[in-house]
Symmetry: C2
Subunit: 338 residues, 2 copies
């Protein structure tokens, strides 16, 4: 059992901001990144919590990330906001593009936010949750690095290519899912490798294209998509929609751009926002009840909605006003301030 | 081996139109439906080919389908076309809404076509393929009847809820996928039942929620989604996006509306169209090459793209100028003309 350190929320956030700031990140980026990693930590998604600060600092030091980039928001078309992140991190780009995305969705019915040239390290759910908080449904996707083989193939082409969706609900917790189209997250395989444990079947193939449960062989081979050819088709869709469709890199191109540094992937992200009122001809309230009836039918039989675990963790963190992080992580973060 | 009957394309289409016309379907609906079932037949998707004419005629005779419905096209918002199908079949509604959807996508960047109150029996790929033929990317989804249990549950909530996507490519064959979010199609389970064969594990659970390979028990129990909780999340998204979001029925509501008749599901459909030129800031040609490089990386390792089998079948059908259908189906169709 690793020792943990309990940090009050404001102290955890201040530590995050300070560590990022010392690495040279601009105040605007520090604030946006801190919100994102705190959202992960409060929900006890440790891999998307304060742990990510270490990776962000490493990416800044490697020199590819523009730590003071000022994202440029472009009103590209009646239904499109484009944000050129100028090789900075994505959270600030998202934050700056969000108001115009919301405005467009409310007047057009559907609108797209295309973020280009951004270093992406975060989960998508904090973003789609923000859009749901504005009463809009949202769909988001982004490629990553080419680690995942297409169905029937043996060589990596796709990234782990997450898809996230949100639907506004009464109360503070929207319906939200956010999952990789790969069978497992790359980090999970890495954790198995470090622990010297075999990975489950179906996660990966080795360099020769043979199924493997060896984490080391999997990292050197290729990951597999979830759900066979269907997951593979979705992974291809994410590549196309959040890559060529918006004038940005595929996971293969992003991997090449990385040039072996192992930094956060640099590429694009596509977010779509939908106005339930315009799309339903003004019957949003009645239709929200329809959706609630479906959620009741799921919950009423003892099944869970996606994100329920995260929301329960959030309520715990908010009740105590604190988060717990492993002591070694806390030490690493403090070392960044030295 | 069932005997087959080879029909020239024009004769197969004429037989379809005549059978539907005799059942009372208006000429406009006959033409749209004939195009749809011929597209299925030419691609050797037999379950979406001329076989569907029998089901359409049955649905008309059951009296729920409005056989002479004139769909109403509404310019709902700058980014939204709504078509009220007025309880007619969906292909004519799609056909009438398509021009405005394309126009909006080209001027707004992204646009939605919401079809309401339509009886849906066809695959989604003929529709997204039509949108791709106009140089646009497309995403389509529709609920069905509540046959599918959510992950972790035992009772049906979702439909088989297909998702289809298209990406325009040079030449006649776009990148297209179209799959059910259920592990298998309902028709596949029905075919196993008729043949007295067990179904694969993972397709369904029985009325008590236990895994089953018995097709009869599966039909009385619940189907499962593909890909576990991820497929289940996608199925929920389809319900929300093509149901409450556009002011239409969920699969549970559609099942209730059907009132045990077993007709085609009546509900909504959502199609999104994306303009690669506007979304990429005028760099569509360069980005199309990026996409082609990814397809090359898939095909170059011996993996297939979705729809390749259909396209090969289409080339065969076009080369012979004919389709082959089972003799019993031909007999059934001829009987509709008597």
């Amino acid at each position: 059992m690793t020792d943990t350190v309990r940090l009050p929320l404001d102290q955890a956030r201040a530590l995050t901001v300070e560590a990022l700031s010392r690495a040279g990140l601009s105040p605007e980026h520090c604030a946006a990144l801190a919100d994102t990693v705190m959202a992960g930590q409060i929900d006890e998604c440790h891999s998307h919590g304060l742990y990510r600060v270490l990776g962000c600092v490493r990416s800044i030091r490697e020199g590819k990330v523009n730590a003071t980039a000022v994202p440029e928001v472009v009103d590209q078309a009646p239904g499109i906001v484009r944000v050129d992140a100028r090789h900075g991190f994505s959270p600030l780009a998202f934050r700056l593009g969000l108001p115009l995305l919301q405005e467009k969705a409310r007047t057009q019915g559907v609108a797209a936010l295309a973020i280009n040239n951004c270093f992406h390290f975060s989960a998508l759910w904090p973003e789609v949750e923000r859009i749901a908080a504005a009463g809009l449904a949202a769909l988001a996707m982004t490629p990553s690095h080419s680690w995942v083989a297409p169905a029937g193939g043996t060589k990596p082409v796709f990234g782990t290519n997450p898809i996230a969706f949100s639907w506004p609900r009464p109360g503070p917790f929207p319906f939200v899912f956010d999952f990789a189209t790969s069978a497992a997250a790359r980090g999970e395989i890495e954790l198995h490798r470090r622990a010297g444990k075999p990975i489950p079947e179906g996660w990966a193939i080795d360099g020769d294209g043979a199924p493997t449960t060896d984490a080391q062989a999997a990292m050197a081979g290729a990951m597999l998509t979830f759900g066979g050819h269907k997951g593979s088709a979705l992974a291809a869709m994410v590549e196309l929609m959040a890559g060529p469709l918006i004038g940005d890199l595929t996971s293969r191109e992003s991997q090449i751009f990385d040039a072996g540094l192992g930094a956060a992937p640099c590429h694009g992200e596509l977010l779509l926002a939908f106005d339930p009122d315009l799309l339903s001809g003004g019957r949003a309230a009645e239709n929200a009840e329809r959706a609630e009836a479906m959620f009741d039918a799921i919950l009423g039989q003892g099944a869970r909605l996606p994100s329920q675990r995260r929301y329960a963790a959030r309520q715990r963190s908010e009740a105590t006003g604190s988060v717990d992080i492993p002591k070694p992580l806390h030490d690493d973060l403090l070392a960044l301030l030295a």
